[in-house]
């Protein structure tokens, strides 16, 4: 196990450098004129142009210039310095402010997915082909079919503006209550997937040999479901939720935008829209680490849940 984790960590280093190089190349290769982009539709004065060119080493052109800037960037990165955005703010500071908000949102979404998704999934699995099962099938299909970009504004309009059950946006220092609606919207997609996964897996395990054995031993049904079936059924769900957590931590561009939540996705979106290359690369580099770590944690959790799985 220890060797396995070590090997994975070493792979992570390689993966990290590979992805940052690709992200760096893509961000800056597709960019026309970063200085003009920064100025928007205004003309750029020669003084301003000279200042920014020097500041971001843009005078080094071609492939040599690219690697010069990339290595410069990696050097700073290894010293824990994520650099500055084009508007002169420290990216480290930006992330420090944005992350707690995103993490809170992600946890709410995940909690929604677990509480409602797994519970309903188990119920639907036990009562296969019942009204409950069929109606959840239709509902989850519906949720899976509606993209967040439609779902989020709809929820905001009806629950926030029309009936005023929730605040329509979260804004600065959001309360738990203000994050609840965006959390539900964000979690609804994982909820639907988790529900379907749990249902399929519970239904399958209920027909397994060990359940028949347990039943013939005379165990009560609740004990069979909770102790025997659920534990075995949760393995695919945990995998899914683990990966989903990594996903959610990287911020939800659409949901954070619609509900005005100053999280990671919100900043990433601004970086992309204003062609703020350093900001995009800085955030994505950190996200790469988040993904790698959450994947590792999921793999390790496997072994915890299922004793049959061993790593060498």
């Amino acid at each position: 196990m220890f060797r396995y984790i070590l090997r994975r960590l070493l792979q992570m280093v390689l993966a990290f450098f590979g992805t940052t190089l690709i992200v760096y190349a893509l961000t800056f290769a597709g960019q026309g004129d970063p200085i003009q982009a920064l100025a928007g539709e205004r003309p750029v004065t020669p003084a301003q142009r000279a200042y920014l060119t020097e500041k971001y080493n843009l005078d080094q052109t071609g492939v040599g210039g690219f690697f010069y800037r990339y290595f410069d960037y990696v050097k700073d990165l290894l010293q824990g310095n994520l650099g500055e955005s084009l508007t002169g703010r420290s990216i480290g500071d930006i992330l420090q402010q944005a992350w707690p908000v995103t993490v809170r949102l992600a946890l709410i979404a995940l909690a929604v997915a677990i509480i409602f998704g797994v519970t309903a999934g188990v119920l639907a699995g036990i009562r296969r082909a019942s009204i409950f099962d069929n109606s959840t099938l239709v509902l989850t299909l519906l949720v899976l079919g509606i993209p967040t970009i439609v779902l989020a504004p709809l929820a905001q309009y009806f629950l926030g503006v029309k009936w005023q059950l929730f605040p329509p946006t979260a804004g600065s220092d959001p309360t738990f209550y203000a994050l609840l609606l965006p959390g539900i919207v964000l979690g609804s997609l994982s909820l639907a997937t988790a529900l379907r996964l749990t249902r399929a897996s519970v239904a399958e395990n209920l027909r397994a040999d060990y359940v028949r054995t347990a039943r013939s031993k005379g165990l009560v049904k609740r004990r069979i479901v909770v102790v025997h079936v659920l534990r075995n059924s949760l393995i695919p769900v945990v995998t899914f939720l683990g990966v989903e957590l990594g996903n959610l931590m990287s911020g939800a561009i659409i949901t954070e935008g619609v509900f005005n939540i100053p999280g990671v996705g919100f900043n990433l979106f601004r970086g992309i829209r204003t062609e703020d290359g350093p900001l995009v690369v800085g955030i994505v580099s950190v996200l790469v680490v988040v993904y790698l770590v959450s994947n590792l944690v999921v793999d390790v959790l496997y072994a915890v849940l299922d004793p049959r799985i061993r790593y060498e």
Binding site: M1, F2, G32, D33, Q36, A37, A39, G40, R42, P43, T45, P46, A47, Q48, A50, Y51, E54, K55, T87, R89, I94, Q97, A98, P100, V103, R104, L107, P153, Q156, Y157, G160, V161, Q164, P168, T169, G171, S172, D173, P174, T175, F176, A178, L179, G257, V258, F259, N260, P262, F266, N267, R270, R273, E275, V293, V297, V300, L301, A303, V304, Y311
Partner: protein, 533 residues
């Protein structure tokens, strides 16, 4: 067993971190804005909050609260003194600026002429990389502060006379200089802003100290809000509200939802998506007011397809502007038939004359006689919501001129400009302009002069250049305007661009505020706004 315990240890730290983060979410108080004594106004995250580095509207909106300008503009958009006692010149070259006594910065420092001189020198010094650098170019000695290693740190044209007086010498006479002084970049900065002469403190931008009606309450909370409160020692007109929260939104649609729910007080721009429903959603809280934006279609005049003025006039006549403003913009913009904005002193209606009147039969005749291209391309930037009206325009051209016409989107405006600068054939392309200060010169100079900063279409007419120059060097305003108008008449003949639309502020507010007014620069008037009782 050993294996499983190790696994649990690896998983634990993450779980603990998450658990702690979750604890942090409870307990903190309600989000601001619900307290009726605070008026909230939507802005986007400002790029900067240093006066000489702020050129976009969100930053400028915050700075109008924190600073008081030398001049402001009256209902006719003529300048009148605010922080200045008088601004005079006998030859329009050497200007004497006397400051009003009694203005203090929010840290108690008295405002002196030196604070203006220092701030302007800081802005003009090229290595500081300030966005508004070019606003100082008319001042004598500006050139010495440019380049990588400038010759001087101070402009020779700025001279302190006494604590409340200083003189500005321009490199050549300029009639509109007093009008220019209303711009954001001409605010003063206190001594406390500088750590050494000419070196701005990094922390200044996080909580700018100004001499305006409001002072910072805390610091700039990036991506979330900027709080300001009334500065009681302000000698000018007192604001009616005590606290203002500038709330930062990434998307206008989110802000719009908040206005509908009375969760946000003022939304200076209603998002395009909501324009058709906004009048019924907001009722009399849906408002419009004049603004200076000007949208037009530019032609690469160096391209032989479009080099004939008749071709350009024919295209102009084939466009039904009123139809587009009505159906695409739902009346939030008005048709343009002149080359400068209607908000300016000296504006005349219909200067483009016949060439801007919708007349499909004449247009087709003229187009064929002038030998216009068989395919017209209109390029635009795909990120600015321009697709709808470009498509409508293209369809009109197809129907009315009997030619093939297509719209072609470039990802960003910068990409479009790069192509135009390299003279890649992009066909006609959209452009827009918002003024920095209300003079005709601010349109004629940058847009149509041979060396104009935004003249991407290669238009050059020596006679026009001469008239604009004579106008800005004129002795009196009336004389200047006469010259500018003559220059505009030349544009009507040459038609280097096709005027399309003038913009309007389309804004909305909650039921908790009244007297919401917006100026020509898309900024909310912070002194006039009141809480509705």
């Amino acid at each position: 067993m050993r294996v499983r315990r190790l696994a649990a240890w690896t998983a634990l730290p993450l779980a603990v971190t998450l658990g702690l983060a979750a604890c942090g979410s409870g307990g903190d108080g309600g989000s601001g804005g619900s307290d009726s004594s605070v008026v909230s106004i939507q802005i986007a995250e400002p790029k900067h909050l240093v006066p000489t580095n702020t050129t976009e509207v969100s930053g400028a909106q915050v700075l109008t609260g924190l600073f008081s300008p030398l001049v402001d503009y009256d209902a006719q958009n003529k300048p009148y003194e605010v922080a200045a006692q008088s601004i005079t010149s006998s030859d329009n070259k050497v200007w004497t600026i006397k400051l009003k006594d009694g203005f203090t910065f929010h840290n108690g420092e008295k405002v002196t002429s030196e604070d203006y001189v220092n701030a302007w020198n800081y802005g003009a010094y090229a290595p500081n990389g300030q966005d508004s650098n070019y606003f100082f170019e008319k001042i004598a000695g500006y050139a010495d502060l440019q380049g990588k290693t400038p010759k001087a740190k101070e402009m020779s044209g700025l001279k302190k006379v006494d604590d409340l007086t200083f003189t500005v010498t321009l490199s050549e006479p300029y009639i509109d200089f007093k009008t220019v002084l209303g711009y954001t970049s001409f605010y003063p900065m206190p001594d406390a802003a500088f750590s050494a002469p000419g070196v701005l403190k990094d922390s200044y931008e996080q909580a700018p100290i100004g001499q305006g009606p409001f002072k910072m309450k805390g610091t700039w909370q990036h991506d979330s809000k900027i709080d300001v409160e009334r500065y009681d020692a302000y000698p000018g007109e007192k604001p009616k509200v005590k606290n203002i929260e500038f709330r930062i939104y990434q998307q206008l649609t989110a802000a719009y939802a908040d206005v509908l729910a009375d969760n946000l007080d003022v939304l200076p721009t209603i998002p395009t998506e909501s324009l058709s429903t906004a009048p019924s959603d907001l009722g009399d809280r849906y408002r419009t007011s004049p603004m200076s934006s000007f949208q037009f279609l530019a032609f690469p005049t160096f391209d032989k397809d479009y080099s004939s003025p008749d071709v350009r006039k024919a295209i102009s006549m084939a466009i039904d502007r009123d139809e587009i403003t009505k159906s695409v913009f739902k009346g939030s913009q008005t048709s343009a038939r002149s080359f400068v904005s209607p908000v300016l002193p000296g504006y005349r209606e219909n200067t483009a004359g016949k060439a801007a009147e919708f007349n499909p039969t004449e247009a087709k005749k003229l187009y064929q006689a002038a030998g216009g291209p068989s395919k017209i391309v209109i390029s635009y930037n795909g990120d600015g919501g321009h697709k709808d009206w470009v498509d409508a325009t293209v369809n009109q051209l197809k129907a009315n001129l009997g030619v093939d016409a297509v719209g072609s989107a470039e990802p960003k405006f910068a990409d479009l400009l790069t192509k135009v600068e390299k003279k890649t054939p992009v066909g006609a392309f959209r452009m827009g302009w918002v003024m920095d200060y209300p003079t005709m010169e601010d349109y004629l100079g940058p847009l149509y002069s041979t060396n104009g900063s935004s003249n991407y279409y290669g238009y050059s007419n020596p006679e026009f250049d001469k008239l604009v120059k004579e106008g800005s060097a004129a002795k009196t305003q009336d004389e200047a305007i006469a010259k500018y108008q003559q220059a505009e008449d030349i544009l009507a003949k040459d038609m280097p661009v096709i005027p399309l639309r003038f913009g309007e502020n389309v804004f909305g507010h909650s039921s908790k505020v009244k007297n919401v007014e917006m100026d020509l620069f898309q900024r909310v008037n912070l002194v006039k706004i009141e809480a509705a009782s």
